[in-house]
Subunit: 292 residues, 2 copies
């Protein structure tokens, strides 16, 4: 069996080389979508075991089988850490999965999802139709640059979720201090921010990870890293940022909110629960070292 | 660049296909060791970024760069959950890494390591020399069948650690109820057992995982699963079993033992700490479901 490298789709196996010659290989049956947009190359494959899988510039974004981990962890850790999230901003998130999880929360009145690339939404609606909750009337999808959008928002949001791709290409600005200052301003009192911050196993990203957490520490009142197991992301370990404007909710209050909230959801989540929320903030020593 | 499948080493990349056509690819510079033993095929590669890497029957066992996660989590979760571990049995563990972590504990007087395949120890001593603590006089290496060895042990050990390979080939018996009954008998009062129990992301192993935890639940007084992030194991998520003869140590007492113990170790661990110990028992819903 031959191999394809990144987004060259001539043969049956797709390999994302995430660190030199270390990579993740997935069996591809068919190319469903492939478009070079003004921003990036967006592709969707039908795979042998992960359902349909989307890549951007050759990097796996999500598959139908594993997306629940990333979306549940990115959304609920922040949402349950806010006393009453009503208005939520998602930067990126064009596949719709983060919005779907946010919209499970009964308190939510409006979700603004600001995705720079309409092709991501178009491809997702067609080939990852179960991921989004596109029909929810509380969801407001805008095709704009996230950074420009945040610049024009002052004390508007309870929760901001940064669901961009890697810090190369159009998402690069989402890892910079100026952006987090804009987010801080865009948040109301008691506002909470979460975002994806790459794999601690990939040395090339250590400086970006440190840059994010240094920025959050200087801009926000509290900040921490938390982790999730994502099988199709480099090395299977993914880091996320949590930050709060003002003191974070007491742990007992967070736990009460989680218990009440999860019991209100129509169906059980596949990954997130109270113990996972708490446990995800436990950092292995080598990970804590990256952001020390 | 061409690809090799499993242990066919003709070209530069090694791919372990762990679930149909999903696999982990690592760049290989050189084959250092390759031997078909009476039990299995043992190989060591020089890789581009993970140091030297050992496979057994085409499955990654460890690399110099990532082995600390597996060995710290397999050894310390059990060792710190026992009030005073003096005599420890390791079944398998021929690379020496688990014994190295066990021997950090000052209370330990004797470690019996029972490895069925001397070639694993031979290859490790030569090509993974930093992994083992072979010179420690408390270490007693025996080349025997682990199951037969345990049969002849009655109330001898404080901690038993099962460090075998996957439940195909010579390690198959290490996943069966009869074996755990022998372990229970081989443990002293307050005895603790830990073992590796595969990746929850790989569906083919779900029945083996459930079999282990059902057996532990019926044989031991308490048992639970815990998790670790291992980048070179399938999907990056690995599960471990914990079981205790008698009631497990109270959490406060475990935490005190961890704090005191870690402060006595000569150098800081790279993965394990008190929060990680606790957090590793938090199971995502889909994982808890496998052993429900």
């Amino acid at each position: 069996m031959e191999e394809t490298q990144n987004s060259k789709l001539k043969t049956q196996n797709y390999t994302e080389y995430y660190h030199k010659r270390t990579g993740l290989t997935v069996g591809v049956n068919k190319v469903l979508f492939s478009e070079q947009t003004p921003y990036q190359k967006v592709e969707v494959f039908e795979t042998d075991t992960w359902g349909n899988l989307m890549t951007i510039d050759g990097m796996v974004m999500l598959s139908e089988k594993d997306e629940f981990v990333y979306h549940e962890m990115l959304a609920h850790v922040g949402m349950f850490s806010h006393p009453n999230p009503e208005k939520v901003l998602i930067i990126g998130g064009g596949d719709g999965g983060t919005a779907r999880e946010v919209l499970r929360h009964f308190s939510v009145k409006q979700v603004d999802m600001v995705e720079i690339d309409e092709a991501v939404v178009r491809a997702s609606k067609e080939f990852l139709p179960e991921v989004g909750a596109w029909e929810d009337p509380r969801l407001n999808v805008l095709f704009e640059d996230g950074i420009t959008f945040v610049k024009n928002s002052i004390a508007e949001y309870d929760v901001i979720i940064i669901d961009g791709s890697d810090p190369v290409g159009p998402a690069e600005g989402l890892f910079e201090k100026e952006f987090f200052e804009l987010c801080f301003t865009a948040l109301k009192k008691d506002g909470v921010l979460t975002g994806q911050t790459e794999s601690p196993w990939v040395e090339e990203y250590h400086s970006s990870i440190k840059q994010v957490f240094d920025a959050l520490e200087s801009v926000f009142d509290e900040s921490s890293m938390y982790l999730g197991f994502i099988p199709l992301y480099p090395a299977g370990m993914w880091s996320f940022a949590f930050a709060s404007k003002g003191k974070r909710l007491e742990e007992t209050e967070t736990f009460e909110r989680i218990e009440k909230g999860l019991s209100e959801f129509g169906s059980e989540l596949k990954y997130y629960n109270k113990e996972v929320h708490q446990g995800s903030f436990a950092l292995p020593n080598f990970v804590a070292e990256i952001i020390r």
